[in-house]
Subunit: 332 residues, 2 copies
Amino acid sequence: MPTLDEVARMAGVSRATASRAINGGSRVSAKAAEAVAEAVRTLGYTPNPAARSLVTRRTDSVAMVIPEADERVFADPFFARTLRIVTRALSARDLQVVLLIARPGDEEERLLRYLRGGHIDGAIVVSSHRSDLLADHVADLGLPAAFVGRPWTGAHRVSYADTDNFAGAREVTQVLIDRGCRRIGTITGPADMSAGADRVAGWRAALDAASLAADAVVEGDFTEDGGEAACEILLGRHPDIDGLMVASDLMAAGALRTLERAGRRVPDDVAVVGYDDLGIAERTTPPLTTVKNPIGDMAEEAARLLLAQLDGTTTIPRRVVFAPELVRRTSA
Amino acid sequence: MPTLDEVARMAGVSRATASRAINGGSRVSAKAAEAVAEAVRTLGYTPNPAARSLVTRRTDSVAMVIPEADERVFADPFFARTLRIVTRALSARDLQVVLLIARPGDEEERLLRYLRGGHIDGAIVVSSHRSDLLADHVADLGLPAAFVGRPWTGAHRVSYADTDNFAGAREVTQVLIDRGCRRIGTITGPADMSAGADRVAGWRAALDAASLAADAVVEGDFTEDGGEAACEILLGRHPDIDGLMVASDLMAAGALRTLERAGRRVPDDVAVVGYDDLGIAERTTPPLTTVKNPIGDMAEEAARLLLAQLDGTTTIPRRVVFAPELVRRTSA
DNA sequence: CGTGATTGTGGGAGCGCTTCCACCAGAATG
DNA sequence: CATTCTGGTGGAAGCGCTCCCACAATCACG
């Protein structure tokens, strides 16, 4: 590996000048700059990132933190999509994305050590569990960071991009009410996640406004199998259900399987709505009426929020909330 | 940020002893080790990775390289699954995974600069396009690396884990032959990917052995919409088809949609088999007879192959090929 | 009690880079 | 002609760490 010294020697300049020429090039004569460029080319020189980072105190890499048990992480297209978009947005600025999947509790200490250790300049965190205190920890560290989805705890101390899950859930539940459903149940997301909690709240608000009973509730886990099982329980407890708002399309796909097995026609016997619209909703039979979760916007915005902090443009926490959008198909 | 110097001073030892105590601890007295540990704890010391890396010439991080146009990357569950498994396997060894998604051609130069630049100790590459010369480049660099899936070019120069796509495709095509299909078409993967090419070859071999015509071929792109479109073309050209081997379940799901629209019953009019069995195959109607692509095994093995090189255990390229496994469902 | 091994320790060099600072030529100003 | 600026340059310090090496202390053994 060639070093800056060799480049400088070959170009006939000092190491200081060579360094200046390579970074930005202000205060360097055209002649010197050209000689350095030439030397870099012939030597195939690449600056040693460790040495550079040691003095600049920047690493030009950013962590993408996913505090989930990793079995769940990629079953949901949510994470993959977020990861892809964040990666693209950041690599446009020559930042590398370091992937950190940490089981909560278990590996939290190790995760924090990593975040604190100067490996990375900032972090994008996809986290909204009640139990994890990542937002507080990150705020304590003073680490530039942006959250995708409102963190359950410490939300006011960090920047985040979110969508209005409450409004989205209320709106899609209203679709059920408008088509005449009178006994409307829900399969929720995990109760310890902000998206889960907000969506039940939206469901409940719609029912309350229509003076309908809001007691047919079963908690799911955002997986397809979980939706299938939850729907069975729900059907057992409330056989008279004629409408079902499921907190994610993946769970809704599972619920549809249960309904079919139970001989309930969708939407005639039971109308079903989902949430997310990440592709799976159009492939179910029947295709799901759902709410578009603008995760593309959220992920991009989170990247922007992080970049603003890295640039030092701003240091006060900002929140950006995107509106969800109703998507009508045939399941309700 | 506390430095090693401060730790050493607080522990009442030299910087050298403190360093030894922190790494491994051989040739350090119990008393000194304890004093250092105590100082580390109270100071909240974390070694500066840049400084350490500068002298050890290791970074303890590994690149996961995905040379695909990123729109395609996460539509297929293949990448997400691979990524998850590799990440888990490597983080068990305290290696961080840096995600590199590079559009081929376009950003190849930048990718190679990154790989060469000392940012990472090794790479896991998911690549098997004819056009990319990553295997050769990586071999030229002498960078420890392992490929998931046989690279199209330079395969003999690098370690890789693969599955026998030829055998798998032949076997699943035989299912069609055995059930009495006599006019068997295929929707292939991209012709410039080794998995795509191997699977058509397997299909062809099965038909040749049974003395059946092997001319009903349309190229697909491993996406659901692509499968749908390819199936339309195929049906137009060869309306007499009674069997269809599709090179991926995702494409097969699209093909099933086309068949349904065309009024062909599956499997009675046209029997269909897919490839991959990554979850989607059980959700189609009817569920797909397919071949299990052992990507979990492949990803884990690739991680192992890389670790072996990082440990210096071995330097000669090794290949590991996993057997595919037939999964019978109702589509054929 | 001398010799040689063994264990623990600290001094110091040096990894490759950026950046501060002193310097110098030459242009612009009084 | 003396003076202030400039733009351009190189010397040298120092980022925080590991590890080589010299050295001291302890031990085993004849």
